[in-house]
């Protein structure tokens, strides 16, 4: 199928992108285009203006910044998964990103695009939650920073205003003592997650000192499994304790029912996959 016509502007800076967005009531930002272009082709969106940020240097690349790594929003999934910085300091992100769609899509699609699109079945917002990431956003009034926990508002909805651009994502490093795992459940390899779980666990002396667990596709937005996290904190790093804690995984969620799964099945998947993700993050299996 064929997109409807639109005006097109290519910008070289985030500020120019913001300026361009302000010229239209109905503009869309084009990064890698792997979500946007299929939507345009199906004419599910017919924007008046496309602002192409794929050439903005300040939005591209991965750098170390003290106790964090900073990833430009326009960095491709492929560059994320193959980055030594990411593999060393955010292996959870490397692992989850490697499961996004397929190799061709990962060559074009971007980290920031996936975050800003905020699809509840996407793989990366959960990782941002586990990492307590911070989003750097450019807008008419300059830049602002928003914690991941405050960024995702609703289904396909974030705190980004119509005239704002996500510039970069700052991921505090998960240092020594942390283990992570991303557990994803799909019907076929290239499809979206039915449910997925991102887990990070810090062990101390055979018990779990700290745990962070984020759920994919268990609500209109990604969310942390708070009940599981608190049940794990201080628990023994044992299969039994993890399984017991994981029984709380569906608490506070509101999963949808669709072709692939009814809500009660999603809840069960959340419990099972949380157990597996945490166990692997804790180095148990």
């Amino acid at each position: 199928m064929i997109p409807a016509g639109f005006d097109y502007v290519r910008v070289n800076s985030a500020a120019d992108a913001v300026a361009a967005l302000q010229t239209s009531e109905d503009a869309k930002i084009l990064g890698g285009g792997q979500s946007l272009i299929p939507i345009l082709r199906l004419r599910l969106a017919t924007p008046e203006l496309i602002v192409d940020v794929s050439g903005v240097a300040e939005m591209n690349g991965i750098r170390e910044d003290g106790d964090a790594i900073v990833i430009g929003a326009g960095t491709t999934h492929h560059d994320v998964t193959t980055s030594d910085l990411v593999r060393t300091h955010a292996p959870l992100l490397a692992q989850a990103t490697a499961t996004v769609a397929d190799p061709q899509v990962r060559h074009r699609g971007t980290f920031g695009g996936a975050i800003a699109h905020a699809d509840p079945a996407g793989d990366l917002p959960g990782v941002a939650l586990v990492h307590n990431a911070t989003m750097t956003i450019a807008g008419p009034a300059g830049t602002r920073e928003v914690a991941a926990a405050d960024f995702f508002l609703d289904y396909l909805t974030t705190t980004l205003a119509e005239d704002e651009v996500l510039v970069s994502i700052r991921l505090p490093k998960l240092g020594a003592g942390w283990g992570t795992h991303y557990e994803k459940f799909t019907r076929v390899a290239q499809s979206w997650s039915i449910v997925a779980v991102a887990a990070a666990v810090r062990r101390e002396n055979g018990s779990i000192a700290e745990a962070r667990v984020a759920l994919t596709n268990m609500a209109p937005t990604h969310l942390r499994a708070a009940a599981v996290e608190s049940a794990l904190t201080g628990a023994a790093a044992s299969a039994e304790a993890i399984k017991a804690a994981s029984q709380a995984a569906a608490e506070g969620t509101s999963p949808t029912s669709d072709l692939n799964a009814q809500a009660d099945y999603r809840a069960e998947l959340a419990r099972v996959l949380t157990g597996r993700a945490v166990a692997k993050a804790a180095g148990l299996s």
């Binding site: 199928m1 064929i2 997109p3 409807a4 016509g5 639109f6 005006d7 097109y8 290519r10 084009l30 285009g33 792997q34 272009i37 299929p38 345009l40 082709r41 199906l42 496309i50 192409d52 794929s54 492929h78 769609a101 397929d102 190799p103 061709q104 899509v105 060559h107 074009r108 390899a189 290239q190």
Partner: protein, 162 residues
């Protein structure tokens, strides 16, 4: 209209295009590279896979204007068009009967070449995951996997790379 300059299969192309023109339609309808087909609307099937700046991409999910200044390699530029001048991946697909109707084949071959560039000696599982973005309805993938294995062996043996 936007002016773009794109290198396609080693040849420099310059055209004025509508911003909404998909790269695959640019290749097929403007440049005349009809060897790259279209199989879906949603970037699932991978039939339109080409190499852009050295990486496999789905040309139905990229705008022609985004290719400005870039380098596109299609199945038609992968090797010569005579039988004695095939890329090892093309040769392997023929040897292993890795195609039947052939519609998915250009994309499958371009994806497989990209896979071997990143991982010259993939396991069967790595091959299957590496071409998961390309759907085939004829072969059941069995012989495609054999073809990629055969090409990997032949390319690592001869030092040929894509």
């Amino acid at each position: 209209m936007v002016s773009i300059n794109v290198t396609v299969d080693g040849r420099s192309e310059s055209h004025d295009v509508e911003p909404r023109l998909l790269l695959v339609h640019y290749l097929r309808d403007v440049v005349g590279k009809v060897g790259t087909p279209i199989g879906c609307d949603t970037s699932n099937c991978g039939a339109c896979t080409v190499s852009f700046n050295g990486q496999s991409i789905k040309s139905c999910s990229m705008l022609a204007v985004q290719a400005d200044g870039g380098d596109v390699l299609t199945i038609e530029g992968l090797a010569g068009t005579v039988e004695t001048d095939l890329h090892p991946m093309q040769e392997a697909f023929r040897e292993c009967h890795g195609l039947q109707c052939g519609y998915c084949t250009p994309g499958m071959i371009m994806a497989a070449c990209d896979l071997l560039k990143e991982n010259p000696n993939p396991s069967e599982a790595e091959i299957r995951e590496g071409i998961e973005g390309n759907l085939c309805r004829c072969t059941g993938y069995h012989n495609i996997v054999r073809a990629v294995q055969t090409a990997a062996a032949s390319m690592s043996g001869t030092g040929v790379s894509s």
